[in-house]
């Protein structure tokens, strides 16, 4: 797949988002800011699921840790939020290294469950340690004056998120990204070519955790509060659903999924208390009828229209051969 085809929609999106405050009102800019942060959260998750084939159910831990890093530094030590946002990926990354050390030893459902367990453990600590984190009262954060206007913080978020997504783009195009894709396709095959599978998976886990930490660190100043719900397991389900809706295999899939999620949540919360229920139903329909997600389906349609010699996915035979490798006498 050509990099131009993957970069072009990103640049169009960046230009659109940059122009947005000139086109819509302040409340919509706030919503767009929510979208940018959510998109980065989902994109960091898809480094694990889409690139490396690791289904983590505990990604919210790093999102929440990012949010609390900013909030704790601000309220306990008086550190302004910008240094806090720089510290967040370090804190989330170190925690991802510690958790990752254990979870990458497992595969599939066991990996998912253990990542969920660790995340819930961190959630329990944050939500019950009232003297330190404020428990479920949350912890207040106050942006400095220059970031208080909605548009100012929006552009700040846009810059940070763009840099992070640019980084993910480079990772995807790099040899490291190709190695993760190779491991996703067949870990044993990658191993006999000399790749230390666990180390690559751990590196992906740490990078994904650190970037989720960045997303979280942008979240608490936006809401001027860090809440334990940012670490709760339902928060971990959000990026899974967004990624499935947008398309696991497509680079911008999670961005499109996040847009759908934020818009739908906004519309639905004005009518019911169960936005995740509505989004879940939408994802169910998408997964059933568009298994490649919105972006994957559009890309496939685009390819067929241009009548390229190569269809969007390789033949099934190659996959079948890949599956039986482990168990052959």
């Amino acid at each position: 797949m050509g990099w131009r085809r993957e970069a072009a929609p990103l640049l169009v999106l960046l230009a659109t988002m940059a122009a947005l405050p000139f086109l819509v009102g302040e409340s919509d800019v706030y919503l767009a800011n929510d979208f940018l942060i959510t998109a980065l959260f989902a994109m960091s998750f898809n480094l694990l699921l889409g690139q490396a084939g690791m289904l983590s159910f505990g990604h919210a831990a790093f999102y929440g840790l990012g949010a609390y890093t900013v909030a704790l530094l601000y309220s306990k030590l008086g550190v302004p939020i910008v240094p806090g946002i720089l510290a967040a990926p370090l804190v989330a990354g170190v925690m991802a290294l510690a958790i990752g050390f254990f979870v990458v030893r497992l595969e599939g459902m066991y990996f998912a469950m253990l990542s969920l367990s660790f995340a819930q453990l961190i959630f329990s600590v944050v939500s019950s340690w009232y003297s330190f984190t404020g428990g479920d009262n949350g912890l207040p954060v106050s942006p400095p004056d220059w970031l208080l206007p909605t548009n100012a913080y929006y552009y700040f978020t846009l810059a940070v998120v763009s840099v992070c997504i640019g980084l993910l783009f480079l990772v995807r195009r790099s040899t490291f990204g190709a190695a993760l894709a190779a491991i996703r396709e067949n870990p044993q095959r990658a191993a006999y070519l000399g790749l230390n599978v666990r180390v690559y998976q751990l590196a992906a886990f740490v990078l994904a955790g650190a970037l989720a930490g960045v997303a979280g660190s942008l979240r608490s100043p936006l809401q001027q509060m860090a809440f334990p719900s940012l670490l709760y397991w339902t928060q971990s389900a959000d990026p899974v659903l967004m990624t499935l809706a947008g398309g696991v295999g497509a680079f911008i899939g999670p961005i499109v999924g996040a847009a759908l999620f934020v818009l739908l949540t906004f519309v639905v919360t004005s009518h019911t208390d169960y936005p995740l229920f509505a989004f879940g139903a939408v994802v169910l329909v998408l997964v059933l009828f568009l298994p490649k997600g919105i972006v994957g389906t559009v890309e496939g349609w685009w390819d067929r229209r241009r009548a390229k010699p190569a269809p969007a996915t390789p033949p099934q035979a190659a996959h079948a051969a890949a599956q039986q490798e482990g168990s052959r006498p």
Binding site: G2, A181, Q188, L193, G194, A310, P314, P315, A318
Partner: protein, 232 residues
């Protein structure tokens, strides 16, 4: 270069290899002949660390490698070309090669460009997803991919199986040119034709054990014995 001593390998409770011993001297090619399911692939997988032996020892360049994980065996300079052309179907030809690129001790300085010189057909499709290559091209890719690890020895599992006669010829020539460059090889094959061209040393397997061992010079003399193990 490679010394296997009385290897016993199991798949769960099933005993598959029975006291398999074989030696491959540096710069030579050995061939394991045998029908389907006699343990050729398992022998190569055992050497590679993919199905570790329960008993016996494997020395590579004088060092024990049995019990090491496959990635460490690969990094010591042992390249593996599995049967059935197992490429990374969702990666481009180029990425298939780049993923495997590393410097092993005593390698031959392989790069993607040099691999393309040996297999010019791959150069043409370098940006194509490997899943869309023909069978022969995929086999070229798995060999080129193994070379990218700069191995001093190559394990080839039935490299010409199921390919067209023209492709078989191309691959045989490529494998012979690699041998001339000094690459040590252990090749699994089903028929004597290929073994006669490549092998300095010959092993025949039947029911998980080595049943015949000889030099290339002995092949003609012992043809009847060898054939008797290859027919059902």
């Amino acid at each position: 270069m490679l010394e296997c001593d009385r290897l016993h390998t199991y798949y769960g409770a099933a005993h598959v290899l029975f006291a398999v011993s074989l030696n491959v001297a540096p710069g030579t090619a050995a061939c394991i002949l045998g029908r389907n399911g006699v343990g050729k692939s398992t022998t190569l997988r055992t050497v590679m660390g993919l199905t570790p032996p329960r008993e016996g020892s494997i020395l590579f360049k004088g060092r024990r490698i049995d019990g090491l994980p496959a990635y460490k065996v690969a990094r010591m300079g042992l390249g593996y070309v599995p049967e059935d052309r197992r490429v990374f179907a969702e990666l481009s030809v180029e990425d298939n090669l780049l993923v495997a690129e590393r410097q092993a001790e005593g390698g031959f300085g392989w790069t993607a460009e040099r691999a393309f010189e040996v297999f010019p057909a791959l150069q043409e499709f370098r940006t194509r997803l490997a899943g869309f290559l023909s069978g022969g091209q995929q086999q070229m890719l798995t060999i080129a991919r193994a070379l990218m690890g700069n191995p001093s020895m190559l394990l080839l599992d039935e490299p010409t199986e199921g390919l067209s006669p023209v492709m078989v010829k191309t691959l045989e020539e490529a494998i012979l040119s690699l041998k001339r460059e000094g690459l040590t090889m252990l090749v699994a094959a089903q028929d004597m034709h290929f073994a006669a061209k490549v092998a300095d040393h010959l092993y025949v397997m039947n029911r998980g054990a080595i049943v015949y061992e000889g030099q290339r010079a002995d092949m003609e003399r012992d043809a009847a014995v060898i054939q008797s193990h290859l027919v059902v």
